[in-house]
């Protein structure tokens, strides 16, 4: 379960995320819908630590992600799959293959 609690984020004087909270349950598909510039990508990037949050908490199964140090976040991210808007590294792969890359890499190292 992933819990987002009262997160806020500003870029300079512009507040893009203001006191947002929600819970993502295991085994369910969730959608975040909003108009362009409303902060969907910013929320996702904050959830994986690519953007820092100004206040609030991001909790993965009782682990407070935003309180981990950079090295711990780096290790934690190995369990997360994320696909970027532009395809980023693997534009030849399908969405499923891209999302499973981290998991496959981890299984191979084990």
């Amino acid at each position: 379960m992933i819990e987002i609690k009262h997160i806020t984020k500003s870029f300079g004087n512009h507040k893009v995320i203001d006191d947002v909270s929600f819970v993502l349950q295991q085994g369910k598909t969730n959608l975040v819908i909003g108009e362009s510039g409303s902060g969907k990508t910013t929320i996702l990037k904050m959830m994986v630590g690519l953007h820092t949050i100004d206040s609030g908490q991001i909790i993965y199964d009782k682990v407070v992600f935003n309180e981990l140090n950079e090295k711990q976040k780096q290790d934690f991210r190995k369990d997360i799959g994320m696909l970027f808007q532009g395809g980023a590294l693997f534009d030849s792969m399908t969405v499923e293959e891209c999302l499973l890359t981290s998991l496959k890499k981890k299984l191979m190292s084990v």
Partner: protein
């Protein structure tokens, strides 16, 4: 202090010049400067952290040596050869006094090439070629979210992208400059003899006269430092690119401008340390 004293009027003018608005602008510039210095060193700290897979980094290092060094040989050859030739001709036609021996032409060319032209001018040219290339490469990766994708995979993107480039720059730059020194002195010989500015014997005698080996140490040391400046400053500007294609271009320009300024400042400081006892 009385109102009529000269010190009073100087202080008055001083305070008048620094109005509140100008002070705020000045403080903003200083804060921006300190912000970039701090962020640069934090990025370098991340870049120089222990690599996870050394084999990958070694492979990447040799790729960068080829990319930064070998691909720059053409421009270095042409510039150095003609630069040496021009120095020789200018020296020959400037040193017209009968009291100055003609071997001074070779001596002047060697000293100019070894001390300044090869290390500094070639590094400035490389700042344009290599620095712009690195900033646009990393900047493009940033705006297309490739760096974010690396981070998601648990890869230290700063170390993976920047460390091999900086080490390759520090390693290969002295070799490029050594080639430039040789070609410059050789260009001087060819041009000097071909134009009749000096004889072959005088030039060769001149380039051997009063040779002090530690000047080469000084040149190679500062060249290695310039290699580090070129690659790290360019990588910094590329890594923190925000926006689109236009901003990638701006990052490349900033990388060239700031690395050129830093090269000149570093050149002054190193020269001061080496030459002033």
């Amino acid at each position: 202090m009385s109102v009529n004293s000269p010190n009073f009027s100087i202080n008055f003018v001083f305070l008048g010049f620094f109005t509140k608005r100008k002070l705020i602008t000045f403080a903003t510039i200083i804060m921006g400067f300190l912000f970039h210095i701090g962020r640069y060193f934090l990025l370098m700290k991340r870049a120089f952290s222990k690599p996870e897979k050394l084999k990958v980094y070694v492979k990447q290092f040799f790729f960068e040596v080829d990319n930064i060094g070998v691909s720059s040989l053409g421009i270095i050859t042409i510039i150095s050869f003609f630069m040496g030739g021009v120095i020789t001709i200018q020296a020959a036609f400037s040193l017209t006094s009968p009291l100055i021996p003609l071997y001074a032409v070779g001596f002047t060319t060697r000293e100019s090439m070894i001390l300044e032209f090869s290390p500094t001018i070639i590094s400035l040219i490389l700042a344009g070629k290599v620095g712009g290339n690195i900033a646009s490469e990393i900047g493009s990766m940033r705006i297309s979210e490739q760096i974010d994708a690396l981070e998601i995979m648990g890869v230290n993107s700063a170390s993976f992208l920047i460390l091999p480039k900086v080490l390759a720059g520090i390693f290969i730059n002295p070799f490029l400059i050594a080639i430039s020194m040789f070609l410059g002195i050789f260009g001087g010989y060819v041009m000097g003899v071909a134009t009749g500015a000096c004889t072959s014997y005088e030039y060769i005698f001149g380039i051997q006269a009063f040779f002090v080996p530690w000047k080469l140490t000084y040149s190679f040391l500062k060249t290695a430092i310039f290699g580090g400046i070129i690659t790290s400053v360019a990588a910094y500007h590329g890594y923190y690119t925000q926006g689109g294609a236009l901003e990638v271009g701006r990052s490349s320009t900033k990388a060239v401008v700031y690395s050129s300024i830093l090269i000149l400042v570093a050149n002054f400081l190193i020269t001061q340390i080496f030459f002033v006892q």
